[in-house]
């Protein structure tokens, strides 16, 4: 506590720097994650600005064109521009990630709140079912569901959402179990506040941080699972470009046209990295221990008297 007070004193003595920059400096993972994600959004949503060929445009007289010249990254086996397909492919990947994460979040958070707050029978039943879901390897469950229902954008998103529901439910339930014993919840209950209202107005705001962190990490694994499905030939249907499918197509030409698979692979990597860094960064940002520590680091740096803070 003393160090925090000291920090405030120190801060008032130093020239005022914009808060944004100190946050950027204090949370490097968050910064890099947000920057990478922003970059991906710009190049995928702004794809028409950067490409000279449509992603579906075939040029059969320029099949497997080498990079540079007319095509920055060459063309694929149907003479389609790899660069254009890479940028447009990101739209689908990010859309699947966002949609599946939102679905999993809504269902998972609802189950987690209810299960943690109600406890007893409801909790047992919900948690046992979710235990059953969670032992399925993500890929195997998602693959089976996608194949059973037939691959399309919505089935892929729903399948990936299904495997992620238990993850949200578990983290939320864990938090709610300790929150429900707190006085503000007890007093709300005594005051006759309805269960729905307690869940949504009293408990939910207190678990937002873990939900946000979990959402970022889930979006990263969603990108991976969606790409794995496409890579195995059971994901988003052709001819819409998507990274996993491009990687699979490119694999057949790995010896002569390595960029055809390496470029989409790098994009999947970049997207997963962006979401993982975002998740880690947000966790740091919300963690009171880390906040106190970075505050001490900042104070220490300014006073030039910094010893090893740990």
């Amino acid at each position: 506590m003393a160090t925090l007070a000291q920090t405030r004193l120190t801060r008032s003595r130093t020239p005022v720097r914009p808060r944004v920059w100190s946050t950027v400096w204090a949370y490097p993972r968050l910064t890099v994650g947000i920057a990478l994600l922003a970059l991906l959004l710009v190049v995928t949503l702004g794809a028409p600005l950067f490409v000279s060929h449509g992603p579906l445009e075939q040029n059969l007289s320029a099949v497997l064109h080498l990079p540079f010249g007319n095509y920055l990254l060459g063309t694929d086996q149907l003479g389609r521009d790899v660069f254009s397909r890479t940028l447009y492919g990101g739209r689908l990947a990010l859309a699947v990630a966002v949609v599946s994460t939102v679905i999993a979040l809504i269902i998972g958070v609802a189950l987690g709140l209810l299960s943690g707050y109600k406890a007893g029978m409801v909790d047992s039943v919900v948690m046992r079912v979710l235990d059953g879901v969670i032992v399925f390897p993500d890929l195997i469950l998602a693959l089976s569901i996608t194949y059973a229902v037939g691959p399309s954008f919505w089935t892929v998103a729903a399948a990936i959402a299904t495997v992620n529901v238990p993850k949200f439910a578990r983290v939320v339930r864990g938090q709610v179990l300790s929150l429900r014993e707190r006085e503000f919840i007890a007093s709300a209950r005594v005051a006759g506040v309805s269960t729905i209202r307690i869940l949504l107005r009293h408990l939910l705001p207190n678990v937002v941080e873990v939900i946000v962190v979990q959402a970022a990490l889930t979006a990263g694994t969603a990108i991976f699972t969606a790409a794995s499905l496409s890579f195995l030939g059971l994901g988003l249907p052709a001819p819409q470009p998507d990274w996993g499918g491009m990687l699979k197509d490119g694999y057949a030409y790995l010896g002569s046209r390595p960029l055809m698979s390496i470029i989409p692979g790098l994009m999947i990597f970049a997207a997963m990295l962006a979401f993982n860094l975002l998740g880690d960064g947000l966790r740091d940002r919300f963690d009171p221990k880390v906040i106190a520590r970075t505050a001490r680091v900042r104070a220490g740096r300014r006073e030039k008297g910094a010893t090893d803070e740990q």
């Binding site: 993972r29 046992r128 079912v129 235990d131 059953g132 879901v133 969670i134 032992v135 399925f136 390897p137 993500d138 890929l139 195997i140 469950l141 693959l143 089976s144 569901i145 194949y147 059973a148 229902v149 990263g220 991976f224 790409a227 794995s228 890579f231 195995l232 030939g233 059971l234 996993g244 990687l247 694999y251 790995l254 010896g255 390595p258 698979s261 390496i262 692979g265 790098l266 999947i268 990597f269 997963m272 990295l273 993982n276 860094l277 880690d280 090893d308 803070e309 740990q310």
Partner: protein, 317 residues
């Protein structure tokens, strides 16, 4: 201990029941009618009578609940049914393929645990310094690398350019260990990479926790060399909880094995799974999904029990 074993075992049994129900829902309720796809796959015009006849033969015309309990009854007798595609019992096919997947997972886990723990512990020991930064960066990069992309890069470099390792194929372990490992090396590295990152994170967090414990302080105070405090006390106490970390990641590891096997054409459960999906072989799928998930449940149970043995405090709570 008996109470602990019973409690854990009971919970595992309930989960297995839920798993069987979910497997049945996915393969029988969600999947299109297998009778249609079996007949449709033969390339002739199919009459509704033929479909109805086959449905009767396969017992698909009975209510789903009857089918489920019938299937469950067969399962309890160890009967997983027969494949639709090839004249082979599902259990035989799984039994033949299992060793490949297990070998792949054991190799990958060994690599991941050793490298992950070294990376994480190095980060913890030099916390806040450059080594820690490098360790954390390597971890997050490793766990963000999709396994199929790693596989393609490894194949490009080691199989196509340097031509030192094969990109596909397999030799049984019992036939030639050297050759077998040669075929297994790239797949094992592929599968391990993400887990190096994951395990490094857990190891770092656990080690940081252990280093702040009183018994480590006491060991330092009693004049032990820093080296022996770290090796004999801190690392030992970091290793025990790592057992549960392995259990937590078992499901993901199997999923990774599916992709890895299909890229490197290893004849394990993963390729059997993708082949069965593409071949609409639903008894095989049911059997595989069930065996894999129950394998994960059993592994987690063993991990829980082992943890209870290694750390007596757990049993009491």
């Amino acid at each position: 201990m008996t109470w602990y074993v019973l409690k854990r075992g009971g919970a595992a049994l309930i989960v297995m029941f839920v798993v069987s129900l979910l497997t049945f829902i996915v393969t029988r309720v969600l999947f299109p009618d297998p009778a249609q796809s079996i007949l449709g796959g033969q390339g002739e015009t199919v009459t509704p009578e033929q479909v109805a006849h086959l449905r009767g033969q396969l017992g698909l015309d009975r209510p789903l609940s009857v089918q489920y309990f019938h299937w469950l009854g067969d399962l309890l007798q160890g009967n997983l049914g027969r494949s639709f595609r090839t004249p082979i019992d599902v259990s035989t096919a799984i039994y033949q393929r299992l060793p490949v997947t297990i070998e792949l997972m054991v190799l990958a886990l060994t690599v991941a645990i050793i490298l992950g723990m070294l990376l994480g512990i190095a980060g913890a020991l030099f916390r806040g310094r450059i080594i820690d930064g490098v360790s954390s960066t390597v971890s997050v990069l490793a766990l963000s690398l999709p396994n199929f992309f790693v596989a393609i890069l490894l194949i490009y470099v080691f199989a196509l350019k340097l031509q030192v390792l094969p990109s596909a194929g397999w030799v049984p372990l019992t036939q030639d260990i050297g050759q077998n490992l040669k075929f297994m090396l790239l797949p094992a590295v592929t599968l391990s990479l993400a887990y190096i990152g994951t395990f490094a994170r857990y190891a770092r967090a656990l080690m940081i926790g252990v280093l702040s414990e009183d018994y480590v302080l006491r060991a330092h105070a009693s004049g032990l060399s820093p080296r022996s405090v770290i090796v004999r006390h801190a690392m030992k106490n970091t290793s025990i909880p790592m057992v549960t970390v392995v259990g937590l990641n078992a499901a993901g590891l199997v999923g990774g094995a599916v992709v890895t096997e299909s890229i490197f054409s290893l004849p394990g459960l993963g390729t059997l799974f993708t082949d069965s999906i593409l071949g609409k072989d639903f008894p095989m799928l049911q059997g595989l999904i069930l065996v894999i998930t129950i394998g994960v449940v059993v592994l987690n149970l063993l991990v829980d029990l082992a943890y209870g043995l290694l750390d007596p405090r757990i049993k009491v709570s």
